[in-house]
């Protein structure tokens, strides 16, 4: 049986979540977390982190940028073709 403490559990947490740990390690993690309020709290906050960062950085492209992007691409394309001719 693999012994798991908070620190060794944290080390393999993402592998655990993605199903990339051996069955005995998985069982040992689950047994540890079931009796550890700190790990339970830590894992909850670890799971929440991607969502919080995703929502906080979800920006929309400004409409004027869409127009200027196509214009810039067309201009660059035109000058590239003229160079080739």
């Amino acid at each position: 049986m693999t012994a798991i403490v908070c620190m060794s559990g944290v080390e393999v947490l993402m592998e655990y979540m993605e199903g990339a740990v051996a069955p005995d390690v998985r069982a040992a993690i689950e047994a540890h977390v079931a009796g550890c309020a700190r790990c339970e709290a830590f894992i909850a906050s670890y799971r929440e982190t991607p969502r919080i960062v995703r929502e906080a950085t979800s920006v929309e492209m400004p409409a004027d940028l869409e127009a200027s992007l196509l214009a810039a691409i067309r201009a660059a394309r035109g000058s590239a073709r003229r160079r080739d001719e």
């Binding site: 982190t49 960062v53 929309e60």
Partner: protein, 201 residues
């Protein structure tokens, strides 16, 4: 127009664009520009993102003929964005950002979490406690303090929500390496958000 016609796939458009079909290229730009902009913001910042977006599509235009159908177009495109973002950051030559190492989890001598459950559990509440714009600014700044390798992996995996296998393809590394980098980024950002929620960052 053919009834029931579906939009051509990325790969079909890319092949046409590579053969000199400009409308096909522009259709790809329109299809992906918002995603590329958002990704560029997350890899650099909102000020630099427009340049990164433009540079990305110029690169795509110039190198479309090297795109082979063996990978998905989106995978190839994301790689171009990541590289353009990295070039931009290097060109800026900002002083190195202060690292987020201090926010890594702490353990006692027995390997137990050094913080109490209450201190650890606080993260989910940060987005209820803080003004949305303040939180956005702080989170964006924290993201920029991650090492480049961690930020790229984390942004693709957790913010753009690609699978670990797809991120590995984009970055040209093993899935285990992706997991290691994403995990480190999550640990640092988790600790940062936790301190933020407690009013310490």
């Amino acid at each position: 127009m053919i009834v029931g016609a579906v939009d051509p796939s990325d790969e079909v458009l890319a092949a046409r664009a590579a053969a000199g079909d400009d409308p096909a290229f522009e259709a790809l730009v329109v299809r992906y520009q918002r995603r590329v902009f958002r990704l560029a913001c997350r890899l650099t910042n909102e000020t630099d993102a427009p340049d990164v977006v433009q540079e990305t599509f110029m690169q795509v235009y110039r190198h479309l003929s090297t795109f082979r159908g063996s990978a998905r177009f989106s995978t190839w495109l994301y790689r171009v964005v990541v590289n353009a973002g990295l070039m931009h950051r290097r060109a800026r030559a900002r002083r190195p950002a202060e690292s987020l190492d201090e926010f890594m989890p702490r353990f006692d001598a027995d390997g137990r979490h050094a913080q109490t459950p209450d201190a650890l559990r606080i993260t989910p509440r940060v987005d209820e406690l803080m003004d949305r714009h303040v939180l956005a600014k702080k989170v964006q700044a924290a993201l920029q303090r991650l090492p480049d390798l961690y930020r790229e992996a984390f942004v693709l995996r957790d913010l753009e929500e690609l699978s670990t296998a797809d991120v590995a393809q984009v970055l040209g590394v093993e899935p285990a390496t992706v997991r290691q980098r994403v995990h480190r980024a999550r640990l640092m950002l988790r600790g940062y958000l936790s301190e933020l929620a407690r009013g310490r960052s």
